[in-house]
Each structure stands twice: as C-alpha cells, then as structure tokens.
C-alpha cells in the first residue's frame, strides 16, 4: 500500500492556521534530516520519550524558530517518529449537557493533534500541510470521511492522550487515524479515522495522488499497515445511504456563524458535526449519549449558505420488516440515525452521516 502522509487538519482552510507556526523549512530533505535527528536523539536515550529531544532537535535543525509552546508542548513524535502523541486537558467550557466533553470538543482535539503532527514533521508551512509538489500544483487535502467512536467521554479536568498517524489509501488519498486514551488509566476511550483526498484549490476538482507527492510522504508514515479500526466490517467502512423523504426530524435554516469560519473563509469540519446533531430530538439527547458518528463530506458550505439538517431513525438489519420493529427499537439501548445536510432551498447535499447512540446511565 502506498503510504502518503496525511495532513493534519480538516478542510484546507483550517490548515492555514498552521501558518502561524514559525516557518519550518519545507523541503523533504530537511524534513528527513529533522526526523533523523529526532530519532537519533531518542535512540541515544531510550528512556526518554523523545518529547523535548525531538522537538528541540527539530527546532535546532529548522533554525530554532520554534516558540515556547512548541518546546513545551506535551506532545511529540513517538520513538519511531511515525506517529505523534499529545495530551490535552478537558476545559470547563468544553463540557456539555452531560457533564462530559462534547463530541465537538473531541473532534477539535483530533484536529489539533493532527495539525501538530503535521507541524512536527515539518509539513505545515503554508497552512495546508502540503508537500512542495502539491503546492506547485496548487493541490490541497480535503476531508472526505470522518468516523469517530467514543466509548467513554472525558469530564472536566480529565487528561486525554491522543495518538495519531497517517497511512496511504492507494491513488485516491490518505487516511489519518487516532486513538484516544485516558491518560490516568491508559484506557482507550475512543478511536477515530478519517479519509482525505487531494483537490486543486483553484478549480476545486479532485485529483489523484501522484507518485511525486507520495514520495514526499513516505518517510513519515508507518511501514506496515496500522489501523485504528483493524476489525473487519467495522463501522468506519459502512456505506451511508441517503435519507428517505420525508425525514423524521429536521432543523432548517442553519447558517455558518462567524466563529465557524477559519482562515480561508471555509466552514470548518467540526461545525458540520454540530449541524448534524442539531436535528436530533430532545428526548434522545436527554437520554442517550453519542457513541459513533460517521460523516461523509461531499460539498463545502459557503459563507452565505443556509443549511437544512435532516434526521431519521435507521432500522438495523436485525429488525424484521413488520410493525413491531419500531416498538422493539424504543426499548433498546442503542439507537441509530441517518443524517443529511443540504443547502436550504436547493437541497444540494453537503454531508451525509450516521450516528449511533447508547443509553445514558444516570
């Protein structure tokens, strides 16, 4: 399988925030040197997690332009340099109605650690986590699918450790995977995976990943296939059908708010998650907890667009086709829903999604 380094962030626009970082040399040669330096440092002292050594080495190689935060961040490439780990504490305002972190908070942290990974290997130079070849060809990464599973939501003050890495996905794109652990217990509390494709930022047309681009990423990806969801037929692979008309629940006329835009005036990925959840009925929100969300990103929302969020319950395969299926569902611990985000008026699809909910233990 071809290995391609996946960029960190969500839609390309978010990556532009990475431009904030002190400029890191963009050539792969320097990137390799830095990584090699990091590995050397780590190798020299195997007891060291490579945290500051790697970062400091990287800083030294890149000219030491790194800021204070960079040097002190509780995140680093792991020993082999092929994945990146960072810890975050859950802040009070990131906690929602269940007294635990919201899925948007988790998604934001996934993006953050992805950004930092890209930055740590020297990719985020112009804010798009692109390779030099991609920049020449005006190509950027865009998310095509995001799949997040949370087994246990962290509460205020909890520290989560997120590990992330990339893999290639043939000629179509790359994937970025995450594992989320509770730092105190080392328990895995969540997993996530995402698929990315390449798009020309001017024409907005998708493009295949070329050999040239793949070359530039090879060094940063694990040598062997490593998946956050290694099990067969896992949820991250399931196709999402289009909602049938009419939807059971809807929330119409959602619009991007000022805070939903990032650098390039694009709506960031996490906002779509919020929109999808907006049409969930109150009684589910009150009694259940989001376990899984899968989102297929089809089209971007523009500045002045209005969005309709539609939701319908999805009956699983276990149910019979007779009327009692619905009743059975009401009592079940798990509920499953299909979602559709479309432009108000035209109904043009922006996203489709699936969510699974488990009953809250109160």
């Amino acid at each position: 399988m071809l290995r391609v380094h996946t960029p960190a962030g969500p839609m390309p626009c978010r990556e532009a925030a990475a431009a904030q970082w002190r400029m890191l040399p963009s050539t792969v040669a320097v990137g390799r040197k830095r990584w090699a330096a990091a590995v050397r440092c780590v190798g020299a002292n195997s007891a060291v997690s490579g945290v500051e050594e790697a970062a400091a080495a990287a800083a030294a190689v890149s000219g030491g332009g790194k800021g204070l935060a960079e040097r002190l961040r509780l995140g680093s490439l792991v020993e082999d340099g092929l994945s990146y780990k960072e810890s975050f504490i859950v802040r009070c305002y990131e906690v929602g109605i269940n007294k635990t972190a919201t899925v948007e908070t988790i998604a934001n942290l996934l993006q953050e650690v992805g950004c930092n990974h890209a930055q740590s290997v020297g990719f985020s130079t112009d804010g798009f986590a692109t390779t030099p070849t991609m920049r020449k060809l005006r190509l950027i990464w865009v998310t095509s699918r995001m799949h997040i599973e949370i087994y246990k939501y962290p509460a205020w003050g909890d520290v989560v450790e997120i590990e992330t890495w990339c893999q290639g996905e043939g000629r179509i794109g790359t994937r970025r995977d995450w594992i989320i652990k509770d730092l105190a217990t080392s328990e895995v509390i969540g997993r996530a995976t995402s698929k990315w494709v390449m798009m020309n930022q001017d024409t907005r047309k998708l493009q295949r990943v070329t050999d040239e681009v793949r070359e530039e990423y090879l060094v940063f990806c694990p040598r062997t296939l490593r998946l956050a969801f290694p099990e067969e037929n896992n949820g991250s692979l399931k196709k999402i059908p289009k909602l049938e008309n009419p939807a059971q629940y809807s929330r119409l006329g959602l619009g991007p708010r000022r805070a939903d835009f990032d650098m390039n005036q694009h709506v960031n990925n996490v906002t779509y998650i919020g929109w999808v959840l907006e049409s969930m009925p109150q009684d589910i929100i009150d009694t259940h907890e989001l376990q899984t969300i899968t989102l297929d990103y089809r089209r971007e929302c523009q500045h002045d667009d209005m969005v309709d969020s539609l939701t319908s319950q999805e009956l699983t395969d276990d149910d019979g086709t007779n009327g009692s299926a619905i009743a059975k569902h009401q009592e079940q611990e798990h509920r499953q829903f299909l979602h559709f985000l479309g432009l108000s008026g035209t109904g043009l699809e922006l996203n489709r999604g699936r969510t699974e909910w488990r009953k809250l233990v109160r």
Binding site: A69, Y93, K99, Q111
Partner: protein, 424 residues
C-alpha cells in the same frame, strides 16, 4: 461541570423565571468566579487549602535535572498539583515524561470519578500542560497558563475573543477549585450552596491589547474582592508568557441570587467568612469600573439586525443554559462585515440582564455609534458600536458597547497580516 459559571446571567426579573421546575433543575446556576478559599468542610471532598499553606514547599527532583516543582500542600496530605517554576529557562530532557508519569501514577491512585456527583472529588494534577494553576502574590491571585489551540484561532489568524473569554472562565473555576470552594461544582461556595444561592454576572468589561496566535502560551491571573455590600468583583490580567506583554485585562461584577426564588440576595455573613482569606481588597482592579450604565440601543435605528438566532446543542452547558461567552458571539455576529474585516475588537462593555436556554429565539441588533464614516477608511480614532441582544418578544438579554481599532493601527499586531508563503 461546565462553563455555567457565567451561564445564568439573569437578574431576577419576574418575567424571566420560567417554571419552578426549571429553577429547581438549574441546580448549579452559580456564577461564582471568585475563589474565596477558606477552611471548607471535608465532606465536600474537594481539595482543601489552608490559606496559610498556600505557599508551596519547593522540592527538587533530581531525575528532572534540577527542575523545581512547587507543591501545594493539601489537608488530606496528597499533592494536589504541580507547577513548573522554571520551565521557561530549563528544558530537561525527561521533563514531560516525568510530569506525565507522576500525573499518571497520582491520578491512577487518587481517581475518584463520579460524574453525577457534582462535588469535585478528583484532585487534578494536570489541568493544563503547565499544571492546574497556582496561587501567587500571597495567595491573593490565581494564575494558570494555556496553550492557544488551533481551533481557537479565527479568520485573521489570531485567537478569537470567545476563546479568550472561555479561558477566563476556566481560570475562574479552577481558582475556586484550588481554593477548595466549589460547593456544588459550579462556582457556588459551600455556604452558598446550602442556601441555594448562586452568582450572577451583571457586568463584564474587557480590553484587549494584543491577540495571541496559535501556539502562544498565555498566562491568566485572576482575583476577586467585594464591591459594596451585595456584589463581588472578579478581575483578570492575561499576559503572553514569552514576551511578558499584556494580552488583555478584564473585570466583571457579580451579584448573588437565590436560584429558587430568582431574587437578589445580600451576601450572607457565612459566605463572607468562608471567602475572606482569598478575598483581598488590596489588590487593585485593573480596569476602573466607572459605574457607567450603557444606554439602550434604539431598535428603530439599528443598522444591522439578525433575527431568529437560536442556541445549538453545543452552546449549552450542563444546566442547558447558554454559556455567557456565546452571547458575545451573537452580538459580534451582527457587527458589520466591513468592521469585522478591517478592525479588531479592542474593548467590550457588557451588561447582562437575562439568561436564555435551548428553544430561545433571539434577535441581535447593532448600531455603529461612532466612527461610522470611517469604516471603509482607516480611522485613527476607531469605531464604536452599540449592541442589543433580546428575545424575539423584546425582553432584553444583554446590551453592549464595543470599541474597535483598525488592524493596521494595533500596537502589537500579532500575526495579523499575510500568510507566510511557501517559498520560505
């Protein structure tokens, strides 16, 4: 627990209180953002600090190559938090690993996590990369550091005002927690909780000098003191850790309200007593509360209006109230695009009147009250706007006044400007 410390910002206007069920449900509408530490009863299970024991005992960890740690001693004998004192200047190789190892071991042994229990039982070792935060200046000020994360950055490459306000909120709550004063996990002190009292914010004033960028580390200091018989004040001073320059200064005014009756209340003597040790009148407020009242915007002359705003699920805190910081987002929503594009919010003066919840429908109105003719130009004197946030029926939620300075006129422009190019 959540950001509801600023959530229920309502003064007890009769029309605003909904059913008693709702009031009862608002178990923790408390808004106390002051840490008034005292000897709290051990039944809270919260970290407890003696005012006298606030001064830390420095220890040197040899394995960290001479890095000093400050431990805040707690009555139960366990170390509740660590603060790295000299990390700016020293980068021991295994600093992070040591910190993480200690945190892991400590948290694993001390873990008492019960989500439904609103009292804080769990001692926090790592509230942030730099520790929970610590008391400084003889215990009168609480200080905590934050990394600016990428998703807190907005379109012009600097942290959004909402992100900064959120961090003020976080620090305030951690101040309470570290002082052992989280009676109900929401900012009410134990004595307040017994009396069903909560803090309600009435005024907020913020002045931003420089917006931080992604990757910056900011240091937030906060403190509180009484303001008259019935009100409390909480101030913040935020600095850039690396440069030492001020990022922002803020002050807020809080009154006490009975959450059941929704009536204003005097600060009871017991609350004064328990909060007194951390309640240092001598610390000067940063911003002078000039006692001004904001005029109400004339709705007929508002130039920019957005109707039908509704809270999303993610805007709600644990009590299903809208976080105060979201209100700021709503009033800025309605600011003219030309201002948002060319000017940076420099200061904000807000008066909170009512709270809102899921299902509320709001209107946001804005008028440019000064400098309107200069919006598209380059105004030296800046722009001033008046804002009003109200229910669609007309009941007022919040009024505000904002001052904006031209992006090019900022003293410290941060990284506003052109994206670094790929060629470098």
């Amino acid at each position: 627990m959540s950001a509801s410390i600023m959530a229920s910002s309502s003064l007890p206007l009769p029309s605003s209180s909904s059913s008693s069920a709702a009031s009862a449900r608002a178990a923790s509408d408390s808004l106390d953002v002051r840490g008034f530490a005292a000897k709290t009863t051990s039944s809270t299970g919260a970290m407890q600090l003696n005012a006298s024991s606030v001064q830390a005992t420095p220890i040197t960890s040899s394995s960290a190559g001479g890095l000093k740690y400050e431990n805040i001693e707690v009555e139960d004998g366990s170390n509740s938090s660590m603060a790295l004192q000299t990390f700016y200047n020293q980068l021991p190789p295994d600093w992070s690993k040591l910190l993480v190892a200690i945190a892991t071991a400590f948290l694993a042994t001390e873990k008492q996590r019960s989500v439904p229990d609103c009292k804080v039982r769990r001692p926090d070792m790592l509230a942030d990369a730099f520790g929970l935060g610590k008391f400084v200046k003889d215990g009168s000020v609480f200080r905590q550091n934050f990394f600016i994360r990428s998703y807190e950055i907005e379109a012009d490459q600097t942290a959004s005002i909402e992100a900064l306000m959120n961090q003020l909120q976080e620090t305030a709550l951690n101040h309470m927690k570290c002082a052992g004063l989280l009676g109900d996990g929401f900012g009410s002190t134990p004595e307040m909780y017994k009396r069903s009292l909560i803090w309600v914010v009435t005024k907020m004033q913020v002045h931003v000098e420089k917006y931080p960028s992604w990757g910056d580390v900011i240091q937030v200091e906060t403190w509180g003191f009484p303001s008259g018989k019935n009100a409390m004040r909480r101030d913040w001073h935020v600095k850039d850790v690396e440069t030492g320059k001020t990022i922002l200064k803020a002050t807020s005014l809080w009154v006490m309200m009975n959450k059941r009756t929704r009536r204003l209340s005097k600060v009871p003597e017991e609350v004064r007593t328990e909060t007194e040790p951390y309640f240092i009148p001598k610390v000067a407020a940063i911003l002078d509360d000039d006692g001004r009242r904001l005029p109400k915007l004339d709705t007929s002359t508002a130039t920019h209006v957005q109707k039908g705003l509704t809270p999303h699920w993610s805007d709600l805190d644990t009590n299903q109230h809208v976080n105060n910081v979201k209100y700021i987002g709503w009033i800025l929503e309605t600011s003219p695009i030309s201002i948002l594009e060319n000017y940076k919010l420099e200061s904000m003066f807000l008066e909170y009147r009512r709270e809102c919840r899921r299902g509320s429908v709001l209107d946001s109105l804005t008028t440019v009250s000064a400098g309107a003719d200069c919006i598209n130009g380059n105004s030296e004197s800046g722009i001033e706007c008046q804002h009003l946030l109200q229910f669609e029926g007309g009941a007022e939620i919040m009024r505000g006044q904002t001052q904006w300075r031209h992006k090019q006129h900022r003293k410290n422009t941060g990284s506003v400007g052109v994206l670094p190019t790929a060629s470098s």
